[in-house]
C-alpha cells in the first residue's frame, strides 16, 4: 500500500465525520421550570403509547416519537427521537421533554440517564389486553387527563367484554397466527395475541409453547392441523398458493378449505395499543363466520 492511499482514507473519514457533524443538528431548548399552565411536553417511544396520546387528544403536547410510531398519519409530522425503546439521548436532551413514556428500553440504564437530564420517565406494561387498558389510565394520569383517559378506558373495556365470547373448548377453531415465515414464529400464552385469539373464541395452537413470542417448527404447525391460518405480515404473491406449495402443508385443514386469512391489518393484532380492541372484534367475526360455515 502506498502512503497516499492512507492519507486518502484519512481524508475520506474526516470528510464523512464533518458532513455528519454539520447535518441534522437540532437546537437545544434551555430547560426551565415549567410554569403553571404551560403545556406538558411529551415524548412517546412506542407506537401504542403514541396512539393512546392521540386518542386522548394530547397530540399537541407530543414533541417527539419513535421511528416505529406510524399511526395515525399525523404522527409522521412529529420529530423522530430514535427507535422504539432506544431513544437518541442527545435528541431527548435537546428537545427537553417534561415526560417521556415508553413500554421498554433496550438498555435499562438509559432511564437513569434521561432522568438525570430533568425529564420524568414513565414505563408502562402492555403485555396482555388488560394491561393495555390499564396503561391508558396510567398515561392519562401522568399527562393530566385522568378523566378523559378513564372514560376512554371504560369504553374500551365495555367493547372488550362485548367481544369476549364463551365457546366450549370443542367448538373453538384451531388457529395459527404466522408472524413471520423465516423463522416461522408466533405468540404463545402470555402475549396479547394469544389473549385476543382466546377471547375471540379461537384456540391458539401455540398456546402451550412455553416462551411468549416464540419460534415454531413447520411440523408442529402441521401436527396441530390449524383450521384457520392468519398471515400477519405482507406476503409476496398469492398467500393461499404459497402455503399450498410448502412441503406438507397442503393437507392442513386451513389450507385445504381455504381458511388462510391475509386481510386482517397486522397492526390491529400485533401492536399493543387501543386498536387491539378492533383486532379482537375482527377476529371474533372471523371465528364466528367459520363456526357458522362448519354448522351448515
Amino acid at each position: 500500500m502506498k502512503q497516499w492511499m492512507l492519507w486518502a482514507a484519512v481524508a475520506a473519514i474526516v470528510t464523512v465525520a464533518i458532513i455528519g457533524t454539520v447535518s441534522h443538528q437540532v437546537p437545544v431548548r434551555p430547560r426551565t421550570d415549567r410554569a403553571e399552565g404551560d403545556p406538558l411536553r411529551l415524548v412517546s417511544l412506542s407506537p401504542s403509547v403514541t396512539e393512546i396520546l392521540f386518542e386522548l387528544g394530547l397530540e399537541e403536547n407530543l414533541i417527539g416519537v419513535s421511528t416505529a410510531c406510524t399511526y395515525p398519519d399525523e404522527a409522521a409530522d412529529i420529530r423522530r427521537v430514535g427507535d422504539m425503546g432506544a431513544p437518541d439521548l442527545e435528541l431527548v436532551q435537546a428537545i427537553a421533554p417534561d415526560l417521556l413514556i415508553a413500554t421498554s428500553f433496550r438498555d435499562t440504564e438509559m432511564v437513569r440517564v434521561i432522568e438525570a437530564t430533568g425529564a420524568e420517565v414513565l414505563l408502562v406494561d402492555q403485555g396482555c389486553l388488560d394491561e393495555v387498558v390499564d396503561s391508558i389510565r396510567v398515561i392519562g394520569r401522568a399527562a393530566g387527563h385522568e378523566e378523559r383517559a378513564a372514560n376512554y378506558a371504560q369504553g374500551l373495556r365495555a367493547r372488550i367484554e362485548e367481544a369476549t365470547v364463551t365457546v366450549p373448548e370443542g367448538e373453538r377453531p384451531r388457529v395459527f397466527v404466522e408472524l413471520s415465515p423465516q423463522p416461522l414464529s408466533t405468540g404463545a400464552k402470555g402475549t396479547f395475541l394469544d389473549d385476543l385469539i382466546v377471547r375471540a373464541g379461537g384456540s391458539n395452537i401455540a398456546h402451550d409453547m412455553g416462551t411468549p413470542w416464540t419460534r415454531i417448527s413447520p411440523d408442529e404447525v402441521v401436527a396441530h392441523d390449524p383450521e384457520i391460518i392468519i398471515i400477519a405480515y405482507m406476503m409476496d404473491g398469492d398467500t393461499q398458493q404459497s402455503l399450498e406449495r410448502r412441503v406438507g402443508w397442503g393437507r392442513v385443514s386451513a389450507v385445504r378449505t381455504g381458511w388462510v386469512i391475509d386481510t386482517i391489518d397486522e397492526d390491529l393484532i400485533m401492536r399493543p395499543g387501543p386498536r387491539l380492541v378492533d383486532g379482537l372484534e375482527e377476529l371474533g367475526d372471523l371465528f364466528r363466520r367459520y363456526r357458522e360455515q362448519e354448522q351448515q
Binding site: 465525520a17 455528519g20 437540532v26 437518541d88 442527545e90 435537546a94 438498555d107 435499562t108 440504564e109
Partner: protein, 329 residues
Amino acid sequence: MTGGQKLARGIIILGAALVVSFGWALIAGHARVPVRGLFSEQYAGLVRIRAARALLGIIVGAGLSVSGVILQGVLRNPLADPYVLGVSSGAGVGAALAMLAGLAAMGAWVVPGAAFIGAVLAILLVYLLAREGKAVPVYTLLLAGVIVNSVAGSFLIFLVHTTIARGEGLHSVMWWLLGSLQVLEPGRVIAAGAAVGLGVLITLFFTRDLNVLSIGEEPAAHLGLRVERTKKLLFVVASLVTGAAVAASGLIGFVGLIVPHGVRLVVGPDNKVLVPLSALAGAVFLVIADIIARTILPAGELPIGVITAFLGGPFFLYLLRRQRRGGVQ
C-alpha cells in the same frame, strides 16, 4: 530521521490531532452545542455525555490498537488482530457470563476481569490450535481464529437470546456484535481506562523485546530473550487490554488491524515508535469513527462496529492478498 525523532514528531502531530478530535467530539452530535456553550451550564449535560464517550473512544481505540501490535509482533503475523483471532469474542463471552451471574454489582472490575479471562482462554485456544511445531502458519492461525470467533459469537447470541426476556441488562445482540461507545455507567470507563493504561504502559517496556521477537523465535533466543516467558506475558497484556475494551464497548472490529498498519506505513516497523504512536492514532481513529457513528443518521446512531468493519474488511483482504503474493509462510 532516527527513531527518537520519528517518535517525537509523531507524538506532537497525533497529540494535536487527539486534542482537536476530542474538542470536535464535544461539538458534534444531534443536539447543537455552540463552541461558546461548551462551558455554560445550559449544555453541561450534553457536554458531559459526549466527553465520556470520547474518553471511552480514546481508551478503547488505544487498547485495541496496542493489542493488535502485540499480537502481530508475537505471532509474527501481519493479519493478527484481537477481533479477527476471536479474542474479542472470547472476552465478550466472559463479560456476558459475569453479567448473567449477577456479578456486575460487585464492582466495576468484575465484568472486565471476566472479559480478561475469556480473552486469555481464547488466545490460548487459537494459539494451540494454530501452532505447528514452533511455527504459527498464517492460514491455520486465521482458521483457528475464525472458528473460535464463530463458536464464541454463537454462544454470546445464545446467552443474550435465552435471557433477554428476563431483562437482566445484558445489552442487545447488536451491542455485543457491533459495539457502542455509549457510556451509561461511568464506573466502566474508569475500569477500562485503568486496565488499558496499565497494559499500554507494560507494552512500552517490552518494545525492544517485540523487536527482537520479530526476527524469529530462535534468533531471539540466541540474543538472550526468554522467548516463552515474554510471549506469555505479552499475551496476557493483550488479553487484559482487549478484555477491558470489550467489557466497556462490545465488539468493535478491525481497529487492531487498521491502525497499526496505517502507522507502520508511515513510521516503519520499529515497535519502540509503533506502540506509542499506534495507541495515539487508535484513540484519534475511534473518536472520529464515533463522531460518524452518532451523527450520520438523522436520529439514533449507527453501531460503531459497522464503520470499523467497513474500513477494516477490505483492508484485511488487501493484506491477505499481499501476503500470498509475497509468499511469506
